[in-house]
């Protein structure tokens, strides 16, 4: 079965999951105790305004009508919104409605904050992969040695440390006491990597790059640590399994040099299954980003989500949830396709 058919099948599954996501988000509102309206309305709003909003949002309609409107609103809004992004106009549609507190369109607010989260997530992933894979390989290939114990203890501590506490301690030690890094915020006015990629003038911002890096270091470490520890453990145990397989003994029987057996054969087969696990664990990464943004006051989607929940701005919460979940689905489709491309055993059927 060709790549195209696999993609179609995977996209169909993705659409089903997105439909599931939208349904759950709608369901959240329904299961809220008491009158569903008060989830959508700030508590201190007067009775006539309340009536007005209920009428506008059609909250008095029967449930399935509301649900239909909600889903079709998003379904129709998305293509229109994407079109706007493509043509560079302000993102109006996406059918996510307007924020109750700021009155601006949810989609544009979410759209503006997304790059900051993506930037953090990408930096954390890069940090994780660059450190974790070599560490996992080294500790797997020379067992019962100092690097092996070091890597094991580091990765154990890494997955056992709550990232918010790590962030707080990094701020206290590195930022406050030693004053090496800013205690919070993101480099203001300096376009982040994602914005640069979008707007395409990466070279001109060389000076800005140093400040941008200065700001993003602590948050990236905070977010990346759990992920680095996890991938180190997976690489190590994956490699140990693979080294026990018959084809490794057959390769040595052929007289192949160790470097070839270890890195061309074993490491490659170890990394293939790790791709899927990384895909699955991306949810943890995005979850971690939400907390890291809260700790470092980083203007990303996670902060938008937390603030909108605290200020009971439900349309904004809905928008953030949907975008995060859809983002996760898209990333997983990419990861699955990558896995199937890299792994010859699994055809596209």
């Amino acid at each position: 079965m060709s790549l195209a058919r696999f993609l179609i099948k995977r996209l169909l599954q993705g659409v089903f999951v997105v439909w599931g996501v939208v349904t759950i988000v709608f369901g959240l509102r329904v299961i809220a105790p008491g009158d569903p309206a008060n989830v959508l309305l700030p508590p201190d709003v007067g009775p006539e305004v309340r009536q007005q909003v209920i009428a506008d949002l059609g909250l008095d309609q029967p449930l399935y009508v509301q649900y239909w409107e909600f889903v079709s609103g998003i379904a129709l809004g998305v293509p229109e919104g994407l079109f706007n992004i493509a043509t560079g106009q302000p993102v109006g549609g996406l059918g996510l409605g307007t924020s109750l507190t700021t009155g601006t369109s949810v989609a544009s607010r979410v759209g503006r904050s997304l790059p900051a989260t993506l930037e953090l997530a990408i930096m954390a992933t890069v940090v994780a992969v660059v450190i974790a894979i070599p560490l996992g390989v080294i500790s797997a290939t020379n067992r019962y040695s100092v690097p092996d114990y070091g890597a094991t203890l580091f990765s154990l501590a890494g997955i056992s440390t709550p990232n918010f506490w790590l962030g707080v301690m990094l701020i206290i030690v590195l930022a406050v006491q030693l004053d090496l890094f800013p205690t919070s915020q993101r480099a203001i006015g300096i376009p982040g990597v994602v914005d640069l990629l979008v707007s395409g003038q990466l070279v001109a911002a060389a000076e800005g790059f140093r400040t941008w890096l200065w700001y993003i270091t602590l948050p990236a470490i905070t977010l990346g640590t759990y992920f680095t520890a996890l991938i180190t453990r997976l690489t190590r145990s994956g490699m140990l399994d693979e080294l026990g397989k018959t084809y490794v003994r057959a390769s040595r029987a052929k007289g192949l040099p160790d470097a070839l057996v270890r890195y061309k054969h074993v490491l490659r087969n170890t990394l293939i299954p790790i791709i899927t696990v990384v895909g699955l664990q991306l949810g943890t990464l995005i979850g971690g980003a939400v907390i890291t943004e809260f700790v470092f006051d980083w203007p990303g989607l996670g902060q938008v989500l937390i603030n909108s929940i605290n200020s009971r701005d439900w349309p904004m919460v809905q928008g953030s949830l949907i975008v995060i979940a859809v983002g996760f689905v898209v990333v997983n489709i990419v990861v699955d396709t990558l896995y199937t491309l890299v792994n010859p055993r699994v055809g596209f059927d």
């Binding site: 003994r249 057959a250 029987a253 007289g255 040099p257 470097a259 890195y263 054969h265 087969n269 055993r345």
Partner: protein
């Protein structure tokens, strides 16, 4: 120790001992095993599961991984060149043209894998790397030999002349890779030589696209890359159906005769031994209990275990009404539980008092070429001196 052996011996293994240090305790997988391999012959090693036949082969070519360890014995290989090289600084390791590989540095032993020894395994599907094409993996085997002959000294170094640095450069720079085009062509020739139809296309396919029989042929092709002198075949046809097994056995026979190489065929199937082997060694509980020519072992089996084995096989041409099985179970090889007597005594119908000491390998009626590790080799069974149940300490006896 003089090596009065047969003049065209190629490989002489003496008192090879390999132990596994597991959590349950020390397992004596191979216990002072001796056998020799002559030029241009197929030597059979037969035994049931747990007899140590596979570990014997792996020990001979130094492929035992931890927790296993080769703890004793000598592996004499006839190699005039190597003998000349080490006659100077390791005189005790050289005897005429023979060199004891166990006394040589690891790098030298490892460099022999390919040009001198190679090995094929039971399950072809798990003996190939699933994510590389078959052609690439065979080309690798050819490339190792090409680079070894181009620069013999480097293959004995720790990184065998191809460390992580070179690998990184090869994988980063496009167009550079470990296997050269010549080795790919040679790989295709090898695939053709082992009878795989349209080898050019098949070389670019992955192991899971091959049938069991075809992949086993590919494994033989890979083993021929270095034109080895001795090919160890560990249960090569056990995982195959009988009609495919017949094809592979014919292939092994043809290749052995064409290349004039020796084959050590390890299997539990006495039929395969009878069809293929000139000489046979029977293994039980980590020891060679009987060895000799095919006629000697099949027509005049001396060790009761060999007799028991031959008696318990149903014959497809004239089925006996009832089989005579060997009672009891194979012993586990935990050193703590292995009694210092003949390991087969508790299952042996002809056990006698003499069997309470561990028997030595004895020539059967004076014929040096047919030996058995049993008192019956040069003694008759005498019911008066029979051993009864009570004299066995330990063991469940059921």
């Amino acid at each position: 120790m003089s090596h009065a052996g047969h003049r065209d011996d190629l490989l002489r293994v003496e008192d090879l001992t390999t132990r596994f240090y597991t959590e349950e305790g020390q397992v004596n997988a191979v216990e002072s095993v001796s056998f020799d391999v002559r030029d241009n012959e197929i030597l059979g090693i037969v035994g049931e599961s747990g007899s140590g036949k596979s570990v014997t082969a792996l020990s001979a070519i130094d492929l035992v991984d931890s927790p296993g360890k080769i703890t004793g014995g000598e592996v004499w290989l006839r190699d005039a060149e190597l003998a000349g090289e080490f006659r100077g600084d390791k005189p005790e390791a050289v005897d005429g043209d023979f060199v004891d590989l166990r006394q040589l540095p690891t790098g030298v032993r490892r460099a022999l894998r390919g040009p001198k020894f190679s090995m094929i395994f039971q399950d072809p599907m798990s003996s190939f790397n699933p994510s590389l094409t078959v052609g690439e993996q065979i080309a690798e085997a050819v490339e190792v030999q090409r680079r070894a002959s181009a620069n013999p000294r480097s293959t004995r170094s720790r990184t065998q002349g191809y460390g992580l640095g070179k690998l990184l450069v090869d994988s980063v720079v496009p167009g550079r890779k470990y296997t050269s085009d010549e080795s790919h062509e040679r790989a295709i020739e090898l695939l053709d030589q082992v009878g795989i139809p349209d080898p050019v296309e098949r070389a670019d396919e992955y192991p899971h696209q091959f049938s069991g029989g075809m992949l086993q042929r590919a494994m033989v092709a890979q083993a021929l890359a270095g034109e080895p002198d001795v090919l160890f075949a560990d249960e090569p046809t056990t995982a195959l159906d009988v009609t495919i097994q017949a094809q592979i056995l014919d292939l092994l026979r043809d290749i052995q005769q064409e290349q004039g190489m020796s084959v050590v065929l390890i299997t539990h199937d006495l039929g395969v031994i009878a069809r293929m082997c000139d000489r046979v060694g029977v293994m039980y509980a980590g020891e060679v209990v009987e060895r000799g020519s095919l006629e000697a072992v099949f027509d005049d089996p001396t060790h009761p275990y060999t007799q028991g084995l031959l008696g318990s096989i149903p014959d497809v041409d004239d089925p006996a009404p009832r089989l005579e099985p060997i009672e009891g179970n194979v012993p586990n090889l935990l050193d703590s539980e292995m009694p210092d007597r003949c390991y087969f005594a508790d299952r042996c119908p002809k056990a006698m008092e003499a069997c309470l000491e561990h028997p030595e390998e004895r020539a059967v009626e004076g014929d040096r070429r047919h030996t058995a590790r049993c008192v019956l080799a040069d003694d008759e069974y005498d019911p008066e001196r029979a051993l009864d149940e009570s004299q066995f300490e330990g063991g469940d006896g059921e």
